[in-house]
Symmetry: C2
Subunit: 528 residues, 2 copies
């Protein structure tokens, strides 16, 4: 519970509206994992889906009711439509499914734009109002708390404000205690939207919520402007996932509400979890995190400019809008051709290497990094490879734990349709020449397996090292399959994670380079 | 020239501030290509870089001056600092470099936050003002038009408004004709920022510009709010590229100004070019376009929800905030497990296939698509593969132009360090069994080369087919290199482009599937 209690709602709809995003498909266990993370963060409401309309959502609520989901902070919300036109509410199967879900809170979606009522629902305003009132009343009588999502509210209000307000009134008459103004098509801008919200609050006195889509790239701004105009309930999705351009990003909205408006909308200790939770939710959605995302992106506090990098050495707080640590993020200095010496010096400091008194080394490393980057390498995301490069230049590296003589990978798609990948490596380790062969799902997997098989008897620490993530980027798309490939490998030993990079025209060789760096980097840490 | 002429400036800084974005590195010819695209779009000003500070930027201006860049709409702008503290302006090398660049317009950056003046510049307010005034005056006397970027303006104004205003006054005294208020650390929100802009306009009467960073996810909203408060000059970058969370996105800002505020800030015919230019600029930056970007993203008008998809058949304009064609984008209906029959029916219509009277086929295809998507396939971006699947189900496909017997790929990293990829395919084509072997840069390239070698003597149309783009996505990052791989291949025959998809645990087999679909799809079009 936050200090604001029920007086301000952070309402998450990642599992319902967020799941409309292109490329997002949650399984039921994904949905449970998402709900647990959001609850841990301390949001007040988690909209779990549309029971009765989507089988997976029905199952999600059933499993939650069976005890597969225990919430500490949040209340679970079922989303659904009002009764259909001309049908009695108690006979409406979809409404029944909302009750059956067992969710203590129900959010009903209703049309609040006369054109939608007439052209999409093909009914009239009076019946639309009755549908809203009846359904809310029915659910409230069954002990549910009910919110109303007034779809297309802003467009409808501009076209015919009377109809839009009547929709809200019908909901409140039925017993709804929040009416949520939805910018469903996402065409609003903050100043105009804030005026409408203030107008609605003044004219109705209702408790107002806000739900914004990002079609003008203003969803976060619109949400904040609505709060400043009187809304006390914000609907968001993790990382802004959602249909078309997406929804208002939970993390930016919360970041702004807490750090800019001073509203404690999450439990105090949760703010520092924003970055971690954002990345975990991206993982579950299987969408690469947006590195430029406000507050939580890996670049959100990354400084590249040589100009600023020198000033940052003097006074970091002058160059960040907040302390990155407050949201669990870090300031990073990027090593690129634009950054130059000052950035690399700072980067060295991160690795515990003092380059201040080694101006010649610094010059050499800057030149080497520039050359490599010109060939497609990138150290921005591969600190471990950069550290190896720096230490190599300073002659601080021990002899590598192994050396390669050769490898061969054979891929067979046989006549019976089976596919076999087999790799053989010949390496020198601990004074011995070792040959090992292994199969794998693909060429890189086979190569990794063969290398491990060869090394493990000699390097026992290898056992703890695992691949966390493997990313492939084709660098120029001018040449189709003969482009240069950059591979990033994230490894872990259960305690630390580190990322290495490999670049080559051949994807297998690029992967090999990144895999080798990962092991060499681990070797530098063994015995520390 | 727009109808607004000089009274409203669309000022692009993709080549300077945008180049600070993590992962962006422009070559000089990239920079020229970017400038040509922006000029074609009709922006008023193109900030080309910082001559004298970055060698590539110096060269860019030199080549532009030599005639490598002919601008129809825009004026080229050189960016740079004021003279250093305690140095005469005519002796300042960096200021000299701005003149030498030959750019008709110069934007000077100056500190307007007292803390930055004292702690980063280590000088006092009076000297800072003199630096601004002297430098502007010097450049104006040399015939340049000068704008002032007042760095950290909003933070500075909140801390000590007098100092911030004195910076602006010094610039105008020197002859600057726009003072640009910069939210350099990006911490502003629209309502507060609009108040400050209105306050500055009211107190000074100066012509005011706006430059926003996206650290609160409000850069676009802040830019629009500033215009509503009186700013008549907006600084943006293509696709919001820029340091940390990025800058205000040119395309969203222009889209909003034109379609929401009715300001004709670009030549009338340019609006429909927004999507094309955005994607071309992403290509040059070598950054995958953001599919969820407002106005220009491939998902910006993509509808997934089964609910909405049925309504869209009735009345598309109810579900888009603008006509997608107005910005050169398209409405798309996504085929996913959530979409169901209505979406697939609409999709069939796009391919010229009428599924309305084939309900059984529709049921089978929906089920098949769901099964494949559960296994990692995605047809959202691979229309050509979906079309093949649909036609196959309708038995509308001819026999495939070739069939595979087997392939083998061998990769050797030899003892001398050379790397060889060789592929052999055995295929049946035009009644013959053909065996062909070829080498390539990597396994997929070798396989593609061998397949072409085998087929070309029998399928002459193959000659025109080229790979445009090849994308690899590792689907679950839980298992490192044994994850499932999805490959998207974009092909072209010089007239059309089409995308196919392949999914497999083995990256080479996934690529093979996508390559084969690409050729089979082309075969369905031969002779049309």
């Amino acid at each position: 519970m936050t200090t604001l209690g029920d007086s301000f709602h952070v309402y998450d709809t990642t599992l319902r509206d967020g799941a409309q995003g292109e490329g997002i498909t949650y399984s039921v266990s994904d949905k449970l994992a998402v709900a647990r993370l959001l609850d841990g963060l301390g949001v007040g409401f988690i909209e779990g889906g549309w029971p009765g309309a989507l089988p997976k959502d029905t199952e999600f609520f059933a499993r939650a009711a069976r005890g597969d989901l225990t919430l500490k902070n949040a209340q679970l919300v079922a989303f659904g439509s009002t009764r259909k036109a001309g049908v009695k509410v108690q006979d409406d199967k979809q409404v029944r499914a909302l009750l059956d879900s067992g969710a203590p809170v129900v959010t009903l979606v209703a049309k609040s734009d006369r054109r939608h009522i007439e052209r999409a629902l093909r009914t009239d305003v009076a019946e639309n109002c009755a549908m809203v009132r009846d359904t809310v009343r029915f659910l409230v009588a069954e002990g549910r708390r009910v919110f109303l999502d007034a779809e297309h509210f802003f467009d409808g209000f501009a076209f015919d404000s009377d109809t839009s307000l009547r929709t809200l009134e019908s909901a409140v008459e039925g017993g709804a205690d929040v009416v949520v103004l939805c910018d469903t098509n996402g065409g609003q801008l903050p100043l105009g939207l804030a005026e409408t919200v203030a107008d609605v609050v003044a004219r109705t006195g209702f408790r107002v919520g806000i739900h914004c889509q990002d079609d003008t790239s203003c969803a976060v701004a619109n949400t904040i402007a609505a709060v400043q105009a009187g809304a006390t309930h914000v609907q968001c999705t993790a990382n802004g996932y959602g249909e078309r351009a997406g929804n208002a990003d939970l993390f930016a909205v919360v970041g702004n509400l807490v750090t800019k408006l001073g509203l404690d909308v999450l439990p105090r200790e949760s703010l520092a979890e924003l970055t971690r939770v954002s990345h975990a939710l991206a993982e579950i959605a299987n969408i690469a995190p947006d590195s430029h995302q406000a507050y939580v992106g890996s670049s959100a506090f990354a400084h590249k400019a040589g100009l600023h990098a020198s000033a940052i050495k003097v006074d970091p707080e002058l160059y960040n809008h907040i302390d990155p640590g407050a949201v669990g993020n870090d300031m990073r200095v990027l090593v690129t051709e634009m950054a130059g010496r000052a950035s690399l010096e700072l980067k060295g400091r991160e690795f515990g290497i003092d380059l201040t008194r080694r101006p010649d080394t610094l010059t050499t490393v800057v030149r080497k990094v520039k050359e490599l980057e010109a060939g497609g390498w990138s150290f921005e995301a591969a600190d471990a490879s950069l550290e190896l490069l720096l230490k190599d230049e300073l002659s601080e590296l021990d002899a590598p734990p192994f050396t390669l003589e050769s490898y061969r990978v054979v891929l067979d798609h046989t006549q019976d349709g089976s596919i076999v990948s087999e790799a053989t490596v010949k390496v020198h380790v601990a004074g011995e020449r070792v040959i090992a062969t292994a199969e794998g799902n693909g060429p890189v997997h086979a190569l990794d397996a063969a290398l491990r098989k060869a090394l493990l008897p000699h390097l026992s620490w290898l056992d703890s090292v695992q691949l966390n993530d493997y990313k492939v980027r084709i660098l120029t798309d001018q040449h189709g399959t003969d482009a240069v490939t950059r591979v990033l490998v994230e490894s872990t030993d259960g305690e630390r994670e580190w990322t290495t990079v490999g670049v080559h025209g051949n994807i297998v060789e690029a992967s090999w380079l990144a895999l080798c760096d990962a092991l060499v980097h681990k070797a530098t840490r063994v015995g520390e």
